[in-house]
Each structure stands twice: as structure tokens, then as C-alpha cells.
Amino acid sequence: MTDECTPQGDGHRSSRRRFIATAGLASTVGLSGCLFTGNGGQQGGANGGAANGSGDATTLTFWHQESVPHRVETFKRFLDRFNEQHENIEVRQEPQNWDEVFGKLSSALEAGNEPDFMFSLPAFTMTFQSQGDLVDVADIVESVDGERDLYDNTVTPFTYDGGTWGVPMWDMVFLDHFRTDTYGNIDTWPAENWEQWLESAAQATNAQEGRYGIVLPANKNLWTTENLYTLMIENDAYVYGPDGKIMFDTPETVETLDFYKRMFNRASPSEATSWGWAEWERSLLQGNAHSTIGFSSWIRSLQETDLADSFGAIQQPPVETGGQSRSVHYVNNIMVFNEEKKDAIRTWVQWMHNPENYGEWLANLEPTLYLPVTKAGENADSYWNHELISKYETMVRTQFKALPNASIYGFRDIHTENDLYIPSVGTLEGSHVLAEIVQQLIVNDRSPEAAASWGQQRLQEVLGVGKSEGL
């Protein structure tokens, strides 16, 4: 028995009120905003300032998205070599994930704590350029061009708005990869036009045996976007019209979507709606998938299997016989955030582009995937000396052949000719709308016309860009 009378706390009614009042108070204080001041303007923030304590040495921190171990190791090898040879500069890598890096970079930019430079792609470069985050690197590009002769179409995606905003570091291009043992038996191979292509892929397909002529993805990822876009480029279909507005819903797009869908239905595994690169590789190595359009990224893993010698690649067949094969390419560039360290960055870029280092670097980073962007690089012994590059020389030569006719959305001929500046391309890529359109087409089984019109709407909505007047 206890006699004490414990005081009861205030009833829930008043507590609840207090609780809501607390929340309300918090919001009010937030509105006044006095606690929080954005400091997005600061450049070269706390982390590794302009020059650190040890004499005049400049520390360069850069981000890249090549986070798998062997690429990180390759980077490290070259960074160690560079740092050894340059007393005053120390370069440090911070590998990132493509999937989440933009949250991190956005945060870093807001806090003024971004890296000094970063590996990127044309669309993303433009996004950050449009926000005023980037430093003009025309001088660096010029010096590399002067010394090593850059290919024009690797520079154009970065030249707009009165400057050059990215230094091309390597290129990647889509080819049509196929298993020679399967496709060798098909008379219409190599296909001369899209219909033959479709026919050949269909012939190579035997769904009962789990064998598919081609893998066309329909997942919400970059690979799907690229697949559709490659075919659109081939067929003269556009996302942005000549006025920089959305010009998606055109007969060319409908044709392309129609082809995509027919090809998917006849020759692609239905579960490819969820695939990314990893699944395609698996499927290839398991012998289920026999061709794909894409980057030549799996050559390294192929070596462990018996497929290594039965693999070939051609440029994508043109739409019509005798037409021009075209493709999508991804120039990987660096974008520079820190003006003050530009000299050091130039030194590093020039060193990386030195054919002795350059060829070896790209060949080891991911053999057959990453292509030199300079004449000097293309001819560098250090590149061709790599075991896999030489083994797949034909394939690599085909890549070089495809490159001059490859382009990328936002930076197509009609855009560069008109000197158009389309900052929403970054959003386009981040939003995966093109991949979504493929999903509408395949997963939601819309007609090509409906998918094209859905896409036009969606693009305008997501990008906040109006409808193009057309060509």
C-alpha cells in the first residue's frame, strides 16, 4: 500500500495541443528564416582550400563515378604516378555512385564544398553550367586540342553559352554486339537495314529454349534511354526541335517506337523490362541473349568464359539499305568547379592526355569500353598494347568508325548548327523520361502513337519546355 499521491501529468488533450503548438512554432521560426542562411555562393569551401599547409602544393580533389574496384585501382595507379612526378600538386579521387551522386553534388554545391573537378557527361555538365557552377575550360581544351588533336564531336557537346564547359576525357559509343556463332548462320547477317535486322534477330530467337536474338531493355534506367535514343538518332527522330523546344511526337519517333516494340516482342526476353547492364551480361554469359546494342563493356568479364572468341560487333544497321549508320555516344568529360586551381587541373589533364599515360589509362580502366578522344590517343601504342584492345581490335576499330556519326540529345546537328543552349537536357537524363516512354510502350503496352504522344506531354511537363514548332 502506498499512500503517496503521484501527481498526474497534464491530460492528453492539453499535451496534444502543446505538441501541435511545438510543431507550429517550429514552422513559424522556420518561416522567419533567421536561423538559416544559404551559402551557395561560396566556392572552394572548407575541404582542401586553395592551398594547404605544406608549402605551395595544391591539392586537387575530384569525383568520378567509376567506383568498381578495378577502376578505382587503375585511377589510383595513375594518380600515384602523377603525384610522384609533380611535387606541387596532389590529386585525390573520390569515387561516387551515378545513382546518388547528384544528391551529394547538389548538397556540396549548396554548402560550397564541391570537389575541384569532377567526371561528368554532357547533359549533367550543362545542368551545372546553367546554374553557374562551372568554370570555362576553353583554354584547357585548346591546349589539349593543340597537343593531341581532339575529335570535334567530342568537344561540341561542351561548347555553348559563350564558353567550353567540359574537357573530353574519353568516349563511349553504341554498337550492335552479337554472338558470331549464332548470327554467323543467318543469311541476312550482317543486316543492311532495320527490317533485316529484325528478321535476323527473330531468326536467332527461340523462346522455348530460352534463346533470344537481342536484348532490348525497358527499365527506368540510362541504358534504356540510350537504346531508344540510338534508334531515334538513326531514324532522324528528335527530342528537342530546332528551336530547342520539345519535338518528340513526330512520325519518325512513332516509327522508331514501333520498331522498338516489334523488335522487343519478337526477339527480346520479356523480362528485359527490368534489366540493366548486369542482367544483360548475365544473360549473355548464360547463353540466353545473343545480341544487344550498347557499349562494349563486358569484354573483360567475357574472358572467363568460352564466349570470348565468338563475339563480334558492327555498327547498328541503318534504317534503309545504303543509309548512314548512326549511334549515340557518351563523351565523358571533366567539369571544373574551382577557378583558382585551374592551372593545376590543366597540368593534370595534359598529363592524362599524354599518349603514354592516356592509352594505358583508358585501356585499363575498362578495356574496349572507354575510347580515346584524341588522334594521339587513338594512335597511342600504350592503348593498343593492352591485351584485350589488341585482341578485339576489329571491334575497337568499328567503334572509332562509328564515332564521327554519333551524337547525343541536346547536342545534335540542328542544335549545334543553331548554337542552341538547352539546359534542360540534364533534367531530361536525370528524369529518365525516355526510358519511361519505353516502359509505357512495352510494360504498359501502349501503341507507338500513344507512347509518342504520352512522351511529348511528359517531356514538356517534366522539363518545363514548350512544344516545338518543328522543322
Binding site: M1, T2, D3, C5, Q8
Partner: protein, 373 residues
């Protein structure tokens, strides 16, 4: 020295609840005082105020003439045995017992010696290494007592220490407490709701009801001279018979209960008239002050009043019985009788006559409930 005084002490919880209401009391040094009262009367709160676990809303606490009202418990030289014992299961018996000395920086050897000494007195010397949880209820009780006694506090507070024990153990521990108190001479303040405990071992009893002090006296005084109706009702088993009556003093002096009258014998009538006004009173009669009138006895001779009644229930205890009598006043009158002939002859349904010892009649003011006589 272990003298405790409460000066006008009140404790309120919130605005409505008054747990302790203006208590003034002085506890004698070295005495065994029981704070007695029904559940919720404020006795534990009073004890906790003395211990320093509660701060009074009003009033002062003095220990050895020093005001300690706002001193935390650790600064008062006292100890408390909790109702639930509050033994620390994560410590051994020995660690439990030596804790107070450890907190006071007593050296290890001395601590061990003291613990051993007290453990022997309490007969738990072979349990020192064990966890309290593994001990029996009585042993736990001894450990709790030992923890409090070991550093010889001037004042030992006990909060219902016997309530969790079964009957046999309770009796044993009660005796044990009395023995220990005698040996040590420490001031004991012991809270209980059990009047039997209080009556048997207390030097003094402080009786509380609804937070108010009812009476603070030695046990016999409480029994024989209850200060008010509550004390009269609370002390004694079975309870005092209480009923309404009218005191009439016109010529004849009597108490009119409606269905019967108690005539006040002439030799005490004057005393009644002097202290009690005519009118409504509450009458109290201890069951043991009533006795059956048999043929052999002639109570009327010296004017002893009697009541005629019918027996409704008989409860047998062996050496005495309780008889519930219907006298027509609405409540039963209880008689406790050890008279052998009555125990043999009186049964349910019998008509009986009981005599009332006028000397042991209590009268209370029906409004203030204070004792009149």
C-alpha cells in the same frame, strides 16, 4: 539522539489532494513510535517527509532540534526500510548492507566487520554472498533491516515492513523488531495500518486519518481514552459498538437509543451531567465491556444498565466468542465474551440480556466526533 519533530507540516499534491494536513508531533528519542492509520491516510507521506524524500508544502521538520526541511535524505542521519524492501538485486546481500557506509567513505574492513556483526544479530550471516532475490521473504526482510541498521542511524524509519509477510513470519519479525529496538536504542518510526502491530510493540502511536493527526499517545491510552470517534472505532478488535442516542437528564439520567435505554446509575450520573449536554450523542461500547446477564448475576442491583437483544450470529474463536445482537437500533451490537457458561448456552435466535459497564462507556459529539466522556 534521534529526536524528530513535525511543526505544522502539510503536503499537498496538485491543488486538490491534501495528503498531510497541518501535523504537529514530536517523536521521543529512542522510542518505538508507530504511525497508524487506514489506507490513504497520509502516513507513508509523513514518513517520506521525515526521510526527506518529499518536501512538505508547509511546515518544518526538525531532527535533533535542527531544521532539516530542505535537506536531502542523504544529509539526514536516518534510514528507511521500504514497504517493498527495495533491495538491490544486482548487488549481493553484503553489498546491499554495506552501501550506506560505502557512500560515507567507511573503509572496507570496518564495513565488513559491521556487516558481519549486524548479520549475526539478524541471523543472516550465511547469506551475505547471495543475491537478495534468492532469499526467502523473511530473510529479505532481515537484509532490508540490516541495510538500514548497519551504519547505526539515529533514526530508523520503517514503512509497513511487515505487510508482505505471511502471518507467522509477521509475528516473528515483529518480535524481532522489538528486540532489535531494545538492543540498539535507536529511535524507530514505523508506519503500519495494522493496529495489532501497533498496539503490541509501539511505545507510542500516532494515529492519522485523512492526513490529520487524530491522537498521539501510548497504546493503552488510545484504547481506553480515544480522543474521538475515529480513534475509538479504529482501535480495538472487534471495533467499538457505536450508535446514535439522545442524552436525557430530566430527573432520570439515561441514554435513549430508541429501542432501548441505558440508564446511567446514580453514582456516575453527576459526572455525565457535568460534561455532556442534553441532546444527541454518539455512544461507544467496547464489545469486551459487555457481558451477558445470567440468572446468577444481578446487575440491576448496582444500577448497571442492560440491553435486551436477540442473537443473530455467533463467531467462535476458541477461547472467546463474538456475538452479534439485534437490539432494534439498525446496527448489530457485538459482544465479546469468554464467559464459559455463556459460550455454552447462548446460541443464534436466543433472547439475551447484556449488561453495560458504565465506566467504559464512551460518548462522542455527533458533529465534531470529539470525545465527550
Amino acid at each position: 539522539m534521534g529526536e524528530v519533530a513535525l511543526q505544522n507540516v502539510s503536503k499537498r499534491f496538485g491543488d486538490d489532494v491534501v495528503a498531510v494536513d497541518s501535523i504537529d508531533a514530536s517523536f521521543r528519542d529512542g522510542a518505538y513510535t508507530m504511525i497508524l492509520g487506514p489506507s490513504g491516510c497520509g502516513k507513508t507521506t509523513t514518513l517520506r517527509i521525515i526521510a526527506g524524500l518529499e518536501t512538505p508544502t508547509e511546515g518544518e521538520i526538525l531532527i535533533n532540534d535542527e531544521v532539516v526541511t530542505n535537506k536531502p535524505p542523504q544529509k539526514r542521519d536516518l534510514s528507511l526500510v521500504f514497504q517493498n524492501l527495495a533491495l538491490w538485486d544486482h548487488k549481493t546481500v553484503e553489498e546491499n548492507m554495506e552501501f550506506g557506509m560505502r557512500m560515507r567513505g567507511v573503509g572496507k574492513e570496518e564495513r565488513q566487520a559491521r556487516v558481519a556483526e549486524i548479520a549475526e544479530i539478524l541471523r543472516i550471516e550465511d547469506k551475505l554472498g547471495e543475491s537478495p532475490a534468492s532469499l526467502s521473504g523473511g530473510q529479505q526482510q532481515r537484509v532490508a533491516l540490516g541495510r538500514s541498521l548497519v551504519r547505526e542511524p539515529e533514526l530508523l524509519l520503517l514503512d509497513e515492513p511487515l505487510s508482505s509477510l505471511d502471518e507467522r513470519l509477521r509475528l516473528e519479525m515483529r518480535t524481532e523488531l522489538a528486540r532489535v529496538h531494545q538492543e540498539l536504542g535507536t529511535t524507530f518510526i514505523h508506519v503500519t495500518h495494522n493496529q495489532e502491530d501497533a498496539m503490541t510493540i509501539a511505545d507510542e502511536i500516532l494515529l492519522l486519518n485523512n492526513g490529520r493527526l487524530q491522537q498521539f499517545d501510548d497504546p493503552l491510552e488510545l484504547y481506553h481514552n480515544p480522543a474521538n470517534e475515529f480513534v475509538a472505532d479504529f482501535i480495538g478488535s472487534p471495533s467499538m459498538n457505536l450508535f446514535d442516542a439522545t442524552f436525557v437528564a430530566d430527573g432520570e439520567t439515561y441514554l435513549d437509543a430508541g429501542s432501548f435505554r441505558l440508564t446511567i446509575p446514580p453514582h456516575v450520573a453527576d459526572a455525565f451531567r457535568d460534561t455532556v449536554d442534553e441532546g444527541d450523542v454518539r455512544v461507544g461500547m467496547r464489545p469486551e465491556a459487555l457481558r451477558f446477564v445470567t440468572d446468577e448475576s444481578t446487575p440491576a442491583r448496582n444500577g448497571t444498565p442492560t440491553i435486551d437483544a436477540t442473537v443473530t450470529i455467533v463467531e467462535t474463536f476458541g477461547d472467546f466468542n463474538w456475538y452479534y445482537l439485534d437490539t432494534g437500533i439498525g446496527t448489530d451490537i457485538v459482544v465479546q465474551s469468554a464467559d464459559e457458561s455463556a459460550m455454552e448456552n447462548v446460541d443464534v435466535g436466543d433472547s439475551v440480556t447484556v449488561a453495560v459497564e458504565v465506566d467504559r462507556l464512551h460518548l462522542f459529539d455527533p458533529r465534531t466526533e470529539a470525545a465527550l466522556l
